[in-house]
């Protein structure tokens, strides 16, 4: 029998079309809206799912092939790292604290993203949307795993990394990233992709990964550079998808525009607040610094985000409402954040410290409008106190913002010496916020945020003690009981870097004695 031999391999576009169009079908014995029940209640109107397209046009065969290559490359380096005492190669033991924050705060979000995309990867009506979300779900699981594997090599030698999964659900500052993702996960599928794919991946993720990975490279952390860049190669695809999703939704129906705009306002602000942690990582926690938070915001926020929103203006989309405030705050964010962790360093699962002379000079140079005037005197006072053996610790729990769950540390946009207080009354209860934008998010969906699991309130309700602990006992120490509930190794995981086990070990490993 004659069969015409295929003349040529299928092109990229044809292969992608076969996967995402040819393999899908319309159900006949069940209505489509019963098969995909979650894509209508948010008010988003979709008329033609076939308009959704992954611009990389990645097909499954190519996906597995390239992901497999990325893994081989990554694990070859992780092996080399472990075989060659990679944990000794970092610039200074202070650097390790950025990894603690990363495994505690960011890696659990990768896992949540895996779950979130698995969910929406089932729920969207369009096959190309489902394929893209399923690929991203597998990517995110890979990120969580490779981060655990890489950090496990450091966990053998340094404190503060041994119980991050337990901490993520309990520890006060980790409720910030946790509640961010829980908020997105409990929204509908469209809000979820606008929140995570667009606002977080496209608009904000460069501010997290690019300077951080460059910082890791500069500080000699081969392991983190490797998992970071391996993840980032997937991230480029996620970002591209984030932009495509927005264009797809906006082009489907004009009624989608105001809904998407409100989600952008909300999720830009929610994501930006989580990045408060990144700002202090860049400015205070990297012993060798790459760029300041302010510079990163100018490049990846103002320039890059500016270009993006310029482009989206043709759909009637404007910059998120909190944009201007983020720009004003760029001179203050990292200093206020680090000062907060310095305050509560007894209850944090990483070390804090006052900046060195060299650090302070760098901060003065990078922040000429704010550091010397407002923040240098604060850190120098603490430095002086610590020299006299009176290292300052704030021993009273802080007031938290109901929406972002961050202590109320942010100042008024018009006055960096005044704390910004906002409040709302809802059904006879009072709620407090750190900013106009967090208040607005609450006011729009109060029933969602009355459920906020605010760590300080939970502690005062008695919900953060181990079973069997008796809060009425005469020798009861509530703060210590909370840290036991956290499963913190008290005296090893917490307190100042100066005098820490990490510091002593690092010096000893480098032959400098204890």
């Amino acid at each position: 029998m004659d069969m015409e031999a295929s003349k040529k391999k299928l092109g990229l576009k044809e292969r992608y079309n076969h996967l995402t169009r040819g393999l899908d079908w319309e159900t006949s014995y069940q209505p489509m809206e019963k098969v995909y029940p979650y894509t209508r209640y948010e008010g988003i109107k979709i008329h033609d799912w076939d308009k959704w397209e992954d611009p990389f046009r990645l097909t499954m065969d190519a996906y597995w092939k390239y992901q497999g290559e990325k893994e081989k490359k990554l694990y070859a380096i992780i092996d080399a790292f472990a075989q060659n005492n990679g944990h000794l190669g970092v610039s200074d033991a202070r650097y390790i604290n950025t990894l603690k924050l990363f495994i505690q705060g960011v890696s659990p979000l990768e896992y949540m993203a895996h779950r979130g995309f698995a969910h929406v990867g089932r729920q969207f009506d369009g096959a190309s949307a489902r394929v893209a979300c399923q690929m991203q779900s597998v990517d995110e699981l890979r990120h969580a795993q490779t981060q655990m594997h890489t950090v496990s090599n450091y966990n053998k030698y340094y404190n503060g990394m041994h119980n991050w999964r337990h901490w993520h659900d309990r520890v006060w500052y980790l409720s910030v990233p946790k509640s961010f993702f829980d908020d997105a996960m409990s929204a509908g599928p469209f809000e979820y992709v606008v929140a995570i794919s667009f606002a977080f991946e496209y608009v904000l993720t460069n501010l997290l990964f690019v300077p951080f990975m460059s910082g890791a490279a500069y500080n000699g952390d081969m392991g983190t550079v490797t998992f970071g860049f391996s993840a980032q190669s997937d991230e480029s695809r996620h970002m591209t998808l984030g932009l495509e999703i927005i264009k797809f939704i906006l082009e489907q129906d004009p009624a989608n525009v105001p809904i998407v705009q409100r989600w952008m306002d909300k999720w830009f602000w929610r994501g930006y607040k989580v990045l408060t942690l990144v700002s202090m990582m860049m400015d205070y926690m990297l012993p060798k610094k790459v760029m300041s938070w302010k510079e990163a915001w100018e490049i990846y926020g103002e320039q890059n985000g500016g270009a993006l929103f310029n482009d989206l203006a043709r759909y009637g989309i404007r910059k998120p409402k909190g944009w201007e405030q983020a720009t004003i705050e760029k001179d203050h964010l990292s200093h206020q954040a680090w000062a907060t962790f310095y305050n509560y360093g007894a209850a944090a699962l990483f070390h804090t410290w006052t900046p060195t002379e060299q650090d302070k000079d760098w901060l003065s140079e990078k922040y000429p409008a704010s550091f010397d005037k407002l923040y240098r005197p604060r850190f120098e006072h603490w430095e002086e106190q610590a020299k006299q053996g009176k290292r300052f610790y704030n021993t009273t729990l802080p007031m938290l913002c109901t929406t972002c769950q961050i202590p109320m540390l942010f100042t008024e946009p018009t006055d960096p010496t005044k704390i910004c207080y906002r409040e709302s009354d809802y059904k006879e209860e009072k709620y407090h916020f750190c900013s106009d934008h967090c208040k607005e998010i609450f006011d729009h969906e109060p029933e969602k945020y009355v459920q906020s699991w605010l760590p300080v309130h939970q502690i005062y309700q008695g919900n953060c003690f181990n079973p069997g602990v008796d809060p009425t006992a005469p020798d009861f120490d509530p703060l210590r009981a909370v840290l036991d509930f956290y499963k913190m190794n008290f005296g090893r995981d917490n307190f100042d870097f100066e005098g820490s086990e990490d510091q002593k070990n690092f010096a000893q490993w480098h032959g400098e004695g204890a």
């Binding site: 390239y66 910082g215 482009d311």
Partner: protein, 89 residues
């Protein structure tokens, strides 16, 4: 018109790709920082398969660049021969 950009890991696989981009896009500017190279270009940036193949001396699948990609901005369009990043306004 705003800039688009693309960033790669600074390694031997990326080198011919970066060289090809800089040659094919006269307005492109490269910036090196630790472990990465970012290329900025006003309005639009094109990556051509043939230009990379001419440097590596073998067939090159444009999707291979994903192995070393760090980040990018702009609208993306990819087929077998080229990858384009652009802003529409």
């Amino acid at each position: 018109m705003s800039n688009v950009f693309i960033a790669f890991q600074a390694n031997e696989d990326s080198r011919p790709v970066i060289e090809a981009i800089l040659e094919d896009n006269p307005g492109a500017v490269s910036n090196a920082s630790p472990a990465m190279v970012r290329i900025d270009c006003e309005g639009q940036l094109v990556i051509r398969r043939e230009s990379i193949e001419a440097r590596v001396g073998r067939d090159f699948d444009l999707q291979e660049i994903q192995l070393n990609l760090i980040t990018l901005t702009g609208h993306l369009d990819e087929d077998d021969d080229q990858l384009t990043l652009s802003w529409k306004q």
